[in-house]
Amino acid sequence: MIEKILIVDDSPVARKMLKNSIPKDKGYEIFEATDGRDGIKKYQILRPQVVFMDLTMPDVDGYKALEEIRKLDKNAMVIVTTADVQPKSISNVMELGAFTLLKKPAKAQIIEEALSKAEMALKGEK
């Protein structure tokens, strides 16, 4: 069951857009990280069930952060949210183990559907 969600994005606007598009009635605890390095650190501390990860970020980008988080936890569920929807970018993140990829700006309904799929996948794991 999803209890904690971590949003990793260097843009405060993107974090706000995503945070306010996540359903309020599910009781999710939402945390934020301001870049890939911060995301890896907060993943280790918080162990969220779902991570929303941007790709284009300073210092440690989303590809590296996704890779590192999957090394820490091979079951980590990372939903990539990005404007970079080039076919090669999509195939790269899927090869790195992303759960799915959402094109920015993702509408609330798309986010809700992705979280429902994540919830089902988590139930299937147990």
């Binding site: 260097d10 843009s11 405060p12 606007v13 993107a14 706000k16 857009m17 306010n20 598009s21 790709l55 284009t56 970020m57 300073p58 990005t82 404007a83 970079d84 929807v85 080039q86 076919p87 090669k88 970018s89 920015k104 700006p105």
Partner: protein, 217 residues
Amino acid sequence: MNDPATSQTSFSQDEKDILQEIMNIAFGNATADLAELIDVQVILSIPDIRIMGFTALPKFLHETINHGQQTAATGQKFRGEFNGTGLLFLPLGAERVLEKFLSDSQRDKLSKQEGKDMQTGLLVEISNILIGACVGKISELLNTVVSYTPPELFTEGGNDYEFLLEHFDTEQTAIVMKTLFQFDQQDFHGLLLILTNYESVNWMKKALIDFMQQYED
């Protein structure tokens, strides 16, 4: 007291953050469109929003991209509530490298469309795709529509940008949306600039608020 020219074009940090995210989304979409033409991945960087006088543009460009390197500059103007110019800078010779990534069928198609000069045609086409898709996405997100002038080659092989001043009202202040990018496994960078001026600022400020309104609690 604030300088009237500056206060007219000033953006708050929040407004710059929104514009930066919109530019990020727009350029990401533009590169996906470009991937349909040339089979090479574009490595994106974080967009930067700056406000400067048009007269400062040549020095800014020199420091940002070329450091003496010769570049080709292409671009096109767009008109509407969102009003300005898109400019694409690539190092001289990039078109020869990028041409290799065209598939044969596309090469044939482009040759018919663009005439004899394939490489110049490719530069103009890349410019058209990136600027059109980027400005188009910004316009879509900010709920407006623009029209475009045809893309054109401003200079091929120059290493100073004074020529740009002929194309702008140098009394004006430019809002510069800058995105540096690199082609995967190619040793060169490109620069996309979307320039707009104070005539668009009041509209843009309202459009940015309206855009964020849909994500407010």
